[in-house]
Symmetry: D2
Subunit: 275 residues, 4 copies
Amino acid sequence: VDVKDLKLLARKPGDPPREIKAGPVTFGGESVVLIAGPCAVETREQTLAAARFVREKGARMLRGDAYKARSSPHTFQGLGEEGLKLLQEAGRATGLPSVTEVMTPEDVPLVGRYADVFKVGARNFQNFALLRALGGQPKPVLLKRGLAGTLEEWLLSAEHIAAAGNPNVILCERGIRTFERATRNTFDASIIALAKRLSGLPVVADPSHATGSKELVEPVALAAVAAGADAVMVDVHPEPAKALCDAAQALTFQDFEALVPKLDRVARAVGRKLL
Amino acid sequence: VDVKDLKLLARKPGDPPREIKAGPVTFGGESVVLIAGPCAVETREQTLAAARFVREKGARMLRGDAYKARSSPHTFQGLGEEGLKLLQEAGRATGLPSVTEVMTPEDVPLVGRYADVFKVGARNFQNFALLRALGGQPKPVLLKRGLAGTLEEWLLSAEHIAAAGNPNVILCERGIRTFERATRNTFDASIIALAKRLSGLPVVADPSHATGSKELVEPVALAAVAAGADAVMVDVHPEPAKALCDAAQALTFQDFEALVPKLDRVARAVGRKLL
Amino acid sequence: VDVKDLKLLARKPGDPPREIKAGPVTFGGESVVLIAGPCAVETREQTLAAARFVREKGARMLRGDAYKARSSPHTFQGLGEEGLKLLQEAGRATGLPSVTEVMTPEDVPLVGRYADVFKVGARNFQNFALLRALGGQPKPVLLKRGLAGTLEEWLLSAEHIAAAGNPNVILCERGIRTFERATRNTFDASIIALAKRLSGLPVVADPSHATGSKELVEPVALAAVAAGADAVMVDVHPEPAKALCDAAQALTFQDFEALVPKLDRVARAVGRKLL
Amino acid sequence: VDVKDLKLLARKPGDPPREIKAGPVTFGGESVVLIAGPCAVETREQTLAAARFVREKGARMLRGDAYKARSSPHTFQGLGEEGLKLLQEAGRATGLPSVTEVMTPEDVPLVGRYADVFKVGARNFQNFALLRALGGQPKPVLLKRGLAGTLEEWLLSAEHIAAAGNPNVILCERGIRTFERATRNTFDASIIALAKRLSGLPVVADPSHATGSKELVEPVALAAVAAGADAVMVDVHPEPAKALCDAAQALTFQDFEALVPKLDRVARAVGRKLL
């Protein structure tokens, strides 16, 4: 495997992994970072409750989307700027930096006023105008792999961001689309090590969106850490049954609390730590 | 197959197919529309030469991109507005309406000043901000299916455009990504009839991007027309060996001239016509 | 595309397509061969009725399986030798040669006593012991492409048969498994021309198993002929609602009668003929 | 997810996982079983050396194929019965039970005389005649998932074996075929937990065939154990550069020695153990 056009982000033999900082958090260092929070920011109470709980149990970054990419135009599309404000408030209340989705170049300045890390969703992983806009500002970008995104394309999308001026890219494996429909997507465990070897960029795993099923979040999260993931991002909701999107994959507080020490044990088994 | 959230664009039993007009051309009527031209607008001479030739041999619309979605940032990305001007000039010189790619919402007004039909590429088929922007203006939108786009998602992306105000969507099957790599993508012949049955929208086939190989353009173009495609769009280049992108799939003038009467014969065999 | 290990069956520049004979029928010649009949042989009446009808309307070969590959052990697995006898009787009564599935090497002599052409199903396309057994006898073998079978693997499976002594292989494109589930499989129109160019072997299209839906059989059958298929094989059942397997894809007699002249028109549009 | 036709092997709420014994080894118990050995049995020396080394370092079962499923007929197909004898000899010399491939029903008695566990390869996972033959004897069957095998089909293939009389099936996830070609296959980490929840059968992971690359064997093996795999099977060769098949994925003795304690640490992190 050789990605010829990977120039700015190519890892040369002997290069250490790249570390990327977002506030007090470092991706790609010894610690495995736990990112948690609601799939979508829905209400002030929901976001604050989730932020407080995940912070207390070991999360180091808060997730929550104000802009949702939804296949259908007739479903909840996110709260927009109001959601960004709620996320920021919850982040400040808990001391957690936040990551949230940005969907179009013109929203980059707005989202950047509220969030610490930009998230580019799977459906936008080759939205090159967006990638360029994110390359024109300094905050880290969490770049999800596309549903049909090859490793080469994924790394080259990171290269698009770097070529526009910002090398602070964090990759995120969130499952690829295959023939298998028993799971929402197929989590590709082997790509983590390969992406890190070729680019040195940190890799986050998103077992919630990869599997689409809360029962499978734990085994896949553990697998990801064992395979070398630098962070794990999971959906947590105070009342999953009432979630406005992706209810089936959200962990309850109880699920999350049970997961954290297991993740820490596997992290330690591979020479890292979570807590 | 039932797409629950397809409301504005759903075809009810007994509904005729939808006809969509772009200047003198009608998509979805008796005639199969032939769209041809260079993959990318490169020079004035190249664009004009291609436009004149394809017009003379039977094309009814000119294609040519000024903005190219390229996996790598280190390759030709298109001429931008200069390319739009060249395309418009070639269209006017030949009387052909034109279709060209738009990649980001903020370019919609600019591209709309030059082109007759907007093209949304496979990598942007779920770029919802772009779809909404195109829904806010009246020109037709040629919406390519994503590389991993299900029929349901594709129709719902059309619904996004319609929900924002513009029902003039033309679908474009350009091959999907599968395990098979002997061809660049896998042209999905069966989806044409199914998309038309569910939505009534016209469907264009793009055998050039589907196969990635000029030798396979002809059999796939013929297959598409036999399967009910309302239009065929092919890459044609005066000198394919010098093409700045996708050289392997561009037809020469000679290839194109040989293809047209064959397409017409198959169109007539299924009760339509091309010439 | 180059299949290095394709030695016995490689087509050299200038080689004509290969013609393969099965009784009075020639695959790979000017005529497009229509193969029709029930998916499974169920009863004497069903098989005879289907054979008589399809023969009268233009079919030149009878299909019908006595051994069915079924995912579940708790469903109809075929009539076995009794089914072979019924198929042979229907073939003799109508003068149609027959093609039927063989699933294991030890059944080759038995099936060969009754059928004119052996069919290897998609699930057995890399059952190498079966391929070798079929290479040890002279009757033609219709080799379906596997659900995840690349063009290279498919041609090399044909090479396995040839290497064991029998070069009379007819390829059959029956759709591949992809992420798209609106159709049962994805019919790969472009592979027909490519398979013929590399090997010269005749290629049959099976739109019934490719689509899994009787409404889609016609457009895909027409597409296949336009793309260069040498034969089309369709499921036809006197009473599809009572079919013991794959009921949704079986054509009624009325459907079949409507299809044949359309196929013939498309065949003639590409310089061949069906009737 | 519900597999309606899974009757004999369905796991009911409250059912414990199934334990399957092969000589001194138990699959599905507290210990994670390490299976190792050459991809193919090539020589007496190679097989004995590999068996002795892997035994000493912690393997509990010996792998080695005498019959190889190869896409091309012009490559090494395995030593046949001679290979079975060498594998048996190496197993006896080290006290390791053995697992080896069987490719056709008529070989079942022969292979059964030498091996402790039958392996059904990915290409035969819906070779129903073979599954039935294996259901007619009592030794455990390690059933690989097909390249395009859904979870449902895989479990139903196990059900075929059980329906023929033998419920001792061990599932093996070895990667599925997807669009991604940077790895040979895509290892599906989430399917392990799901397969166990639905069937209770033990699940083995084969990171060697899943990735096709020795550098990726370790991360994927660790991921599999973290995700709940009951066993890990890896290719080990005294001199990988001289391997007659799949050389790129074989671990050296040194690689294997480094892997074992890591696997044990991850196993212990999830409440199990390897050594």
